[in-house]
Amino acid sequence: MTPTGQIEMAARFLAALREGLDAGAELPDALTRSAAVLPGDARERVRAALRRLSGDYPEDEWGFDEEFVRMVEPAFEFLYERWWRVRAGGVANVPAHGRVLLAANHAGILPWDAMMISLAIQREHPLPRYPRFLVLNWAFELPYVSVAIRKLGGVVASPHNASRLLEQDRLLAVFPEGVKGAGKPFSERYRLQRFGRGGFVEVALRTGAPIVPVAVVGSEEIYPKLGEAPLLARLLRAPYFPLTPTFPWLGPIGVVPLPSKWRIEFCEPIETAAYGPAAADDRALVLELSEQVRETIQGKLYESLVKRGRAFV
């Protein structure tokens, strides 16, 4: 539609709205009715927004809001296609049904990589489903951020939550590097940190969920952390306060991630069901599997880095 056409449309919409209000209709009612003069998709959007305002939208017991996810998807599509030019491989390695644990490398507090993994599955998998993901605890104390993360499928990182999600036969993404991965300096990028005590493997063993290692290249260049300000971190009670070339110097613009080139590789699943739930207490097995996942991701990262070539162009 041409710009003049759009203005005309807006004028007609407002005129219809005025008419409705003058006739004594309530605002939501008048909005719904005047939306009839809009073209199909715009009309649908106005109606959807009004429906949400009346509280008519689905949220599951975790607070995941699929409608919200679909509403913001165009923005993530833009990041996926244009900003980060993501290429995904091996998506078919993600089982289409039942409980699955995706384990990926990670950098930064904001779960951009989780969203890109989700989008890769939406776009490339023959039977897509939305993954839930575990997010660093601290994010849940932040206003707005906590709500957005919850609606997108984020859950406080804890073994209780992970077990429950897997018992519900869901697809769950975890970042076993934890806060050590999130606070990696730029010079350490793509060098996987220790996988904690292997808690994610314990959960997988206990629930019998296969582990799919995922190597994400690109995510570790979006916020190149050059240093940190521990005093500020203490003040904000944050796990760390990153200093990047743009943050915090440029204010909100500093939160814009850099446009690196991404590759997401899904590796072959590692089955855990055969060990039985009791094996979750076998420290040796847990560490062995944890190390196996770590090596798989690390190997794939190096491979993808070579394939990708230069980071930003």
Partner: protein, 329 residues
């Protein structure tokens, strides 16, 4: 075989009275007694009403003379009401339970104790597990007076249960209840002209319908189990969504100003939100109810969302005050 003999404290509350009415119609119960200083609303049949204050040491003799085998403790005050200071609330909760325990010590016939406690013991925390199970009561420090009360009450009964292995002591942990005949904090919150919320927060709230609250209590009387059991409707509802469904206008307030704003509303006689409820509005709370369905064998009929919509449909027009039922002695 003779039927069971039961005593219900807090029988003047709507849930207490409803439980008395239900048990007196059950031929399995040969004797039903109710203890309270308030008269229960509605018809009470063969239930013997004992007009006594739960804080009074004399109740020990009264209770032991009834020779009951089942005790339902339904007199835990969830928030200070009109004309009830928080000190009195603490007294009723803790000293009352203490007197009740000493009465049980002197009543050798006691076999079952069911306590209508609160899931408030878990608190509301940003980093909490999204569903508390019964083993997670002390993950976080107890931040409010009511939390400390509930914890102390649970400790009293747990200690009693350890001393008396032949007594089955069920500690029900209720999420906030909602329903057309209950005057609860959620109900009041949903009838405020504007509902204060924390700017940028949209917590998951979990509630239990008043019918299910009663049925769960009755189920625990019929099938007592040892230890704590969570009671809540399935699922959760986002606070924003709940307010929108209720057609309420929300007033987002930034964190540091929330306290002053709510205090101002209290002084204006508009709202009185307890410290526990304020934390709930910020961080929310949900519990795992598998023990309730598997061990007690009770499945709530209303999900959290259905409880809200049922309440809204039956309380009449939005803005109408919920029917007032006395909640405090």
């Amino acid at each position: 075989m003779a039927g069971r003999r039961v005593l219900i404290t807090g029988v003047g509350s709507s849930v207490g009275a409803a439980l008395a009415r239900r048990l007196e119609q059950d031929p399995g119960f040969e004797y039903v007694a109710g203890l309270d200083t308030r008269r229960p609303g509605g018809d009470i049949g063969r239930t013997e009403l004992i007009d006594a204050d739960i804080r009074d040491p004399a109740i020990a003799d009264v209770i032991s003379s009834t020779a009951v085998d089942t005790l339902v403790h339904n007199q835990i005050v969830r928030r200070p009401g009109r004309g009830m200071s928080s000190a009195t609330m603490h007294d009723v909760n803790v000293i009352g339970s203490l007197q009740l325990i000493s009465a049980c010590e002197r009543t050798p016939q006691i076999r079952n104790i069911v306590v209508r406690g609160s899931a408030g013991i878990y608190g509301s925390e940003p980093q909490a597990p999204q569903f508390f199970d019964e083993g997670m009561a002390h993950l976080y420090p107890l931040r409010t007076r009511f939390q400390r009360d509930v914890s102390e009450i649970e400790n009293l009964f747990a200690t009693y249960a350890r001393r008396h292995p032949d007594v089955t002591c069920t500690l029900l942990r209720y999420q906030p209840a909602i329903g057309p005949s209950l005057d609860t904090q959620v109900a009041r919150y949903l009838s405020l002209p504007v509902a204060p919320t924390y700017l940028g927060f949209d917590p998951r709230i979990q509630l239990v319908h008043e019918d299910d609250a009663l049925d769960a209590l009755a189920a625990a009387v019929h099938r007592p189990v040892h230890g704590a059991v969570n009671v809540a409707g399935r699922g959760t509802i986002g606070l924003t969504r709940m307010l929108r469904i209720a057609g309420r206008v929300s007033l987002p307030v930034i964190g540091p100003l929330f306290g002053p704003v709510v205090d101002g509303m209290r002084r204006a006689g508009l709202a009185d939100l307890s410290p526990d409820f304020r934390r709930l509005l910020r961080y929310g709370r949900a519990v795992d109810t598998s023990r309730l369905s598997e061990d007690v064998g009770f499945e709530p009929r209303f999900t959290t969302e259905a409880a809200v919509t049922d309440y809204l449909a039956r309380r009449g027009s939005p803005g109408a005050a919920p029917s007032r039922v006395p909640v405090a002695p």
